[in-house]
């Protein structure tokens, strides 16, 4: 590793990224230690664990984790590794368990992680203490409004401090639910992208690419009768939007909606018959939140990145998307749909249909994003000769006046990344 990978000159309005940061195994190794082992990393949503004993197994920052609800109802994230030899004690994707039994020698643990059974335990000496041999929980597990994050650094600040101004943007998502309860919808999309993970951070919030990468999605919207005329002169997109710094490396777009929202802005794609129902949803928002807050929830789209690897895109529908690097040029993406827990079946169906118009491996837009990122990664093979990527778009304006099509919010990510990697731009 060399560096600095990020160089910035405010006077000259330049900001550049060394492409080695996107191809180097040494950089990835350092990221695992300096970023993924230090930051709060998304594990899952409380709604995925309805009852005591419910569990979901997943990988978090490279570790096998059992995300589960203990017997008393407490949400836990236990490292999925037997205390005896290390085998995975729960090999199923999801379910409800009274106990987890290691297939190797049969040690059993309850859903709180306590070691309950050791076959032939009379063969151990007095120092063998079952009470101290439970499944090891992740060092820290905290949640904000049912979004659970783990941290492998015991000294890290509290999650609510870490999230900084991103909390207000999570609130805007959760405010879609009359009861304040959002839930993960069944059905998970898990796919690999042959690109560096940081490229998906950028792609999640970079609206500069929309007119070029998503021409066919925009054509589909136009065919369906959605108004795509720019509302102001000089815009690259139909409506105006901004890119924002939320502190601690978190960032968001904050855009005036044109693409429709299940809660609650009708577009022709939903069909005429959906109109009165969307109006009802809107009326409930206004009654509960007041007209200004209701408009904030219903008339803006926000693609939020919680540093380093969680994107909550509140756009055509709501998607929660996390991604982990498995190599400098490969990431594994997991994406879910999120909706109000009390949503009627009709509204849920509309939300899921709206999701698929844009998002996911079979959507009308995400496959082209992936094609773009994989194309970038292929081009990065020339990094030794074509060394720097330009990230200066919008620097001719103040950083607090950055549009969604500028790169001010991307620079927020890169500055934080650089800082945690031990380099100051």
């Amino acid at each position: 590793m060399s560096g600095p990978y990020v160089t910035e000159d405010k006077k000259r309005m330049t900001f550049a990224l060394d492409r080695e940061a996107l191809v180097s195994p040494a950089v990835l190794e350092r990221e695992q230690r300096a970023i993924f082992d230090k930051c709060w990393i998304y594990v899952g949503h409380g709604s995925e664990l309805a009852k005591p004993g419910d569990f979901r197994t997943r990988h978090v920052a490279g570790r096998p984790v059992i995300f589960c609800r203990g017997r008393g109802g407490e949400v836990r994230a236990l490292l999925n590794s037997c205390r005896h030899r290390g085998a995975i004690v729960c090999r199923e994707r999801e379910g409800n368990a009274r106990q987890f039994m290691c297939m190797y020698h049969g040690w059993t643990y309850d859903p709180d992680g306590l070691l309950k059974g050791v076959p032939g335990d009379a063969a151990y000496g007095p120092a063998f203490d079952k009470a101290k041999l439970g499944l090891v929980p992740v060092p820290r597990l905290e949640h904000y409004r049912d979004f659970y994050f783990a941290c492998f650094d015991p000294q890290a600040p509290a999650l609510t401090d870490y999230l900084a101004d991103a909390k207000a943007y999570i609130d805007l998502v959760v405010d879609q639910s009359p009861s304040g309860r959002m839930e993960i919808v069944a059905g998970v999309q898990e796919y690999d992208v042959k690109a560096n993970w940081k490229l998906l951070v950028e792609n999640s919030v970079d609206d500069y690419h929309l007119p070029t990468v998503h021409t066919t999605w925009l054509a589909y919207m136009k065919n369906a009768g959605v108004d795509l005329k720019p509302r102001e002169a000089g815009l690259l997109l139909p409506t105006t939007g901004t890119g924002k710094d939320l502190g601690n490396g978190h960032l968001t777009t904050d855009n005036v909606n044109f693409r429709g929202r299940p809660v609650a802005r009708w577009i022709s794609i939903y069909g005429e018959t959906a109109k009165p129902d969307i109006e009802k949803i809107r009326a409930e928002l206004v009654a509960r939140l007041g007209p200004a807050r209701a408009a904030r929830v219903a008339d803006t789209n926000r693609n939020l990145v919680i540093f380093p690897n969680l994107a909550i895109n509140d756009g055509s529908s709501v998607t929660v998307r996390t991604f982990f690097p498995v190599a400098p040029d490969r990431m594994q993406v997991t994406a879910w749909a999120l909706g109000p827990a009390e949503e009627t079946p009709e509204r849920r169906a509309r939300r899921l249909d709206a999701f698929l118009t844009f998002y996911g491996p079979g959507g009308f837009a995400t496959p082209d994003d992936i094609a773009a990122l994989e194309s970038v990664q292929q081009g990065l093979a020339a990094w030794r000769e074509v060394r720097w990527s330009d990230v200066s778009r919008g620097m001719n304006k103040p950083e607090d006046a950055q549009l969604n099509t500028d790169e001010g919010h991307l620079r927020v990510f890169w500055r934080r990344w650089s800082e945690l990697m031990g380099q100051s731009p």
């Binding site: 749909a337 849920r348 995400t366 094609a371």
Partner: protein
């Protein structure tokens, strides 16, 4: 019983012929001709890998198109702006194990297995493996596809990446 078996045997040959032709049209990217094989009320579903039997109205699918959405999907795929499929992937589909599973009035339920090999320049060869559940309807002299449910065998989409072409 014998009469019924005869109907199913005859139908299976006809369905195989239909599915082979359908696969050829997709492999040749003759998407408008392919659309003509579908009923106007058809449904086109790829459930998520973890919920193969779910309902698209309550579960997040990978693809859940009606006829209108399929027409738009074809429009998209014919546009060079569909970057994930420009240039078009080369595909080769193998359909096997075709069985008639039920006959209800003019609707025939038929299952099949598939392997779709997909090739792109500068990319890995990808193999999509799974089973189809079809509803075919007699219309005019021939058959039309009223529903396809494509069940992928993989535990996750994983290395297959996306479903940017029609599976």
């Amino acid at each position: 019983m014998t009469a019924r078996r005869n109907i199913e045997t005859a139908t299976r040959a006809e369905i195989e012929e239909f599915l082979y032709r359908e696969a050829d049209l997709l492999d040749a990217w003759k998407l408008d001709e392919w659309l003509a094989l579908l009923t106007e009320d058809c449904g086109w579903f790829v459930p998520p890998n973890d919920r193969p039997d779910a309902d698209h109205r309550s579960t997040l699918f990978l693809v859940a198109d009606d006829h209108a959405r399929l027409v738009e999907r074809v429009e998209r795929l014919k546009n060079p702006g569909a970057h994930a499929e420009y240039p078009h992937s080369r595909t080769r589909r193998f359909i096997s194990n075709v069985r008639v599973t039920a006959i209800e009035g003019d609707t025939v339920h038929a299952a099949a297995n598939f392997i779709v090999h997909r090739f792109r320049r500068n990319d890995d060869v990808r193999q999509y493996v799974g089973s189809y559940r079809h509803k075919l309807r007699r219309a005019g002299g021939g058959l039309k596809l009223a529903e396809r449910r494509t069940i992928l065998d993989g535990e996750e989409l994983g290395a297959l990446g996306t479903l940017s072409f029609i599976l």
